[in-house]
């Protein structure tokens, strides 16, 4: 981290303290999408952190973006994933694979925060096995007609721009997948009901339905059949965002539990004076610091290396498992209070679980990593 990153970190901390933390419990309890927070993020120019100023971004680097997701997630993992999905999954594919016209039309408004982005790959029968896509795109007179559905789409309903994947050639498996840019108002495109979830309950997760949606050819992202590659490389970047979210959740839980164990008294002394507490805190802090090393290294790799799949997978695997173990331990240290919704750690424990699942489960990360190890 350089001095620029430190200044940004201060920005994110002030933002989180004033805007995000005060409503984090409410966002969870009432399962509301924090639209006002997103507006404030737009004002603070947080919606296009790693993209060039010429495309409406802030011209900063991936670490600068990762720090934002981490700080937001310390208080509210819902807010963290909104930014991560928007930046890594919504805007990045257009920046990396879009035509100049697509960048002018979509990337600038995403980076300025005038539009919110989302990404839709998963289908009811195509999760980890993306080749099982049932959504089809049929080319007819200058447009594609897209029919099918997607599930578990983050930011759905609130996003304006969706990167979606559909089969242009059903016979070719993953090589038949093509990426498209959809706008929310395109006729035939509807958003289904919001999922009720264990954690990140304010984040909007919905089904998308396409009923013969006419998508102009100029909205095809990359060439026909290039969609799978685009999806996989986009997810490599997305995993760094989720790893940062997991890191933030873990650090947030540690911060809470440190303060709590200092103030909570049992047997006439604060429970932080018991060795069991101290050793647990030491383990948690060490795991978090190791996760932070991996996450920041992956961010650096994304900016400096052509391929960073392994770094991203390791960061996500370790950070998400750290988030789960640290939050579970935090609840344990709080005791009965930790199990109540009066304190934030039970929410953090519920929020942590998703980081082991979405944008590639921990098992998928292990597949990616082992493939690299065995190469």
């Amino acid at each position: 981290m350089n001095e620029k990153h430190l200044l940004l970190k201060k920005l994110y901390q002030q933002f989180t303290a004033e805007i995000v933390r005060p409503i984090a419990a409410m966002v969870d309890e009432e399962e509301v999408f924090p639209s006002e927070t997103v507006k404030e993020m737009v004002n603070a120019k947080m919606m296009g952190i790693p993209f060039p100023v010429s495309y409406g971004g802030s011209g900063a680097d991936t670490l600068a973006y990762v720090l934002a997701v981490e700080e937001l997630s310390k208080a509210c993992a819902t807010t963290g994933v909104i930014l991560s999905a928007h930046t890594s999954l919504g805007a990045h594919p257009i920046y990396a694979y879009g035509t100049e016209e697509q960048k002018q039309k979509y990337l600038i408004s995403l980076n300025k925060g005038e539009k919110l982005g989302a990404f839709a790959l998963t289908e009811p029968n195509a999760g980890t096995d993306a080749a099982g896509q049932k959504t089809t795109a049929i080319l007819k007179d200058g447009y594609y007609e897209i029919t099918g559905s997607k599930i578990f789409i983050t930011n759905a309903g609130y996003a304006d721009i969706y990167i979606i994947f559909a089969m242009t050639d059903i016979t070719k498996g993953t090589k038949g997948i093509t990426a498209f840019i959809l706008e929310k108002d395109m006729p035939g495109f509807t958003v289904g009901k919001k999922e009720k979830k264990l954690g990140i309950r304010g984040s909007s997760t919905c089904e998308l339905m396409f009923d013969r949606v006419k998508v102009p050819v100029e909205n095809r992202l990359g060439g026909e059949g290039k969609g799978f590659g685009i999806a996989m490389s986009t997810l490599d970047g997305g995993r760094i965002g989720i790893a940062a979210q997991a890191l933030g959740i873990a650090q947030g839980a540690l911060d809470e539990v440190v303060a709590y164990t200092k103030s909570r008294k049992q047997f006439n002394r604060s429970i932080s004076q018991f060795q069991n507490t101290q050793f647990k805190l030491a383990d948690m802090a060490t795991q978090i610091e190791a996760a932070r090393g991996l996450v920041y290294r992956a961010a650096l790799a994304k900016d400096t290396q052509k391929n960073f799949s392994t770094e991203a997978a390791m960061a996500k695997l370790f950070a998400s498992e750290t988030a789960m173990s640290v939050t579970t331990m935090a609840v344990q240290l709080y005791g009965g209070y930790g199990y109540t919704r009066e304190y934030p750690v039970e929410r953090m424990m519920r929020d942590a679980k998703i980081t082991e699942i979405y944008e590639g489960t921990s098992e998928v990360q292990r597949m990616v990593i082992s493939a690299s190890v065995l190469r």
């Binding site: 620029k4 004002n43 971004g57």
Partner: protein, 259 residues
């Protein structure tokens, strides 16, 4: 239009603790923050920058580490930041401080000067008016709202104890702002990322050429004879008795704190 904002980096006094053994303030581990009243001064200037294409110049006087606060000002879109720093200026009271600040402001020739009403470390509320006096320009203190800005005047609401006064004043002038005037915006990522690419102008007394009788500790008419903390007792006085006794005990404890 050129606007100068006078700002100060101060210790976060709400975090300060008293060392009960020595009776002194514990300063280690206390964050430095932008003085709260100054934050509204800066926001007011930035709003006028947006509505009237003004140029905003932040001037602070302090030790070299005050540069961090100026970077944060750049992170919010300030055009130029100036740090007045020299051991010769150290230990100044408000009279000597305002001499120094006024000399630096004269180099800029602003139309409008904003300053926070008072700093939370010194709590004097004297520097703003004394700078205005040195520059021989009008002042409006305790500004709680900005009502209208034109190319050559500003109309504001001034906050008294029990009433508000709407006043119009022509440029050049100096306004001191209350924290409640406005809420300072966050830094934005784009400006913060660029903040280190902009130079902070550092001014010492070789630039200002002030006489030593007018600046710093030597130039200060007031001196601090001693400092002390209010004795803190943790011995609880438990009053049983009737309510008359209770009322008496509370009254004597409460009285010194009433305004």
């Amino acid at each position: 239009m050129k606007i100068v904002v006078l700002m100060k980096q101060v210790p976060n006094t709400t975090e300060m603790l008293i060392d009960k053994e020595t009776g002194t303030l514990i300063r280690t581990g206390v964050d430095s923050i932008m003085n709260p009243d100054d934050t509204s001064a800066l926001e007011a200037a930035l709003k006028i920058k947006e509505s009237h294409q003004a140029e905003v110049i932040v001037i602070t006087m302090g030790p070299p580490q005050a540069i961090h606060m100026l970077r944060e000002c750049y992170g919010r879109g300030v055009d130029h930041a100036v740090l007045i720093s020299d051991v010769a200026f150290a230990g100044a009271d408000t009279w000597a401080t305002s001499n120094t600040l006024a000399a630096a402001i004269k180099r800029v020739q602003p139309d409008l000067i904003f300053a926070g009403r008072q700093a939370i470390d010194g709590d004097t509320a004297q520097v703003g008016p004394q700078v205005a006096e040195r520059l021989n320009i009008p002042q409006v203190t305790y500004v709680s709202k900005i009502i209208e800005v034109t190319h050559d005047s500003i109309t504001v609401k001034k906050h008294y104890e029990d009433f508000d006064e709407t006043v119009k004043v022509s440029f050049p002038c100096l306004l001191t702002t209350l924290e409640q005037l406005d809420h300072l915006r966050f830094m934005n990522v784009t400006s913060a990322w660029e903040a280190f690419d902009k130079p902070v102008e550092i001014i010492n007394n070789q630039v200002l050429m002030l006489e030593s009788k007018d600046i710093g500790l030597k130039g200060s008419p007031t001196q601090v004879r001693k400092t002390f903390t209010r004795p803190v007792s943790n011995e609880v006085k438990l009053i049983h008795g009737g309510s008359d006794e209770a009322v008496k005990a509370i009254l004597s404890t409460l009285a010194p704190y009433l305004q």
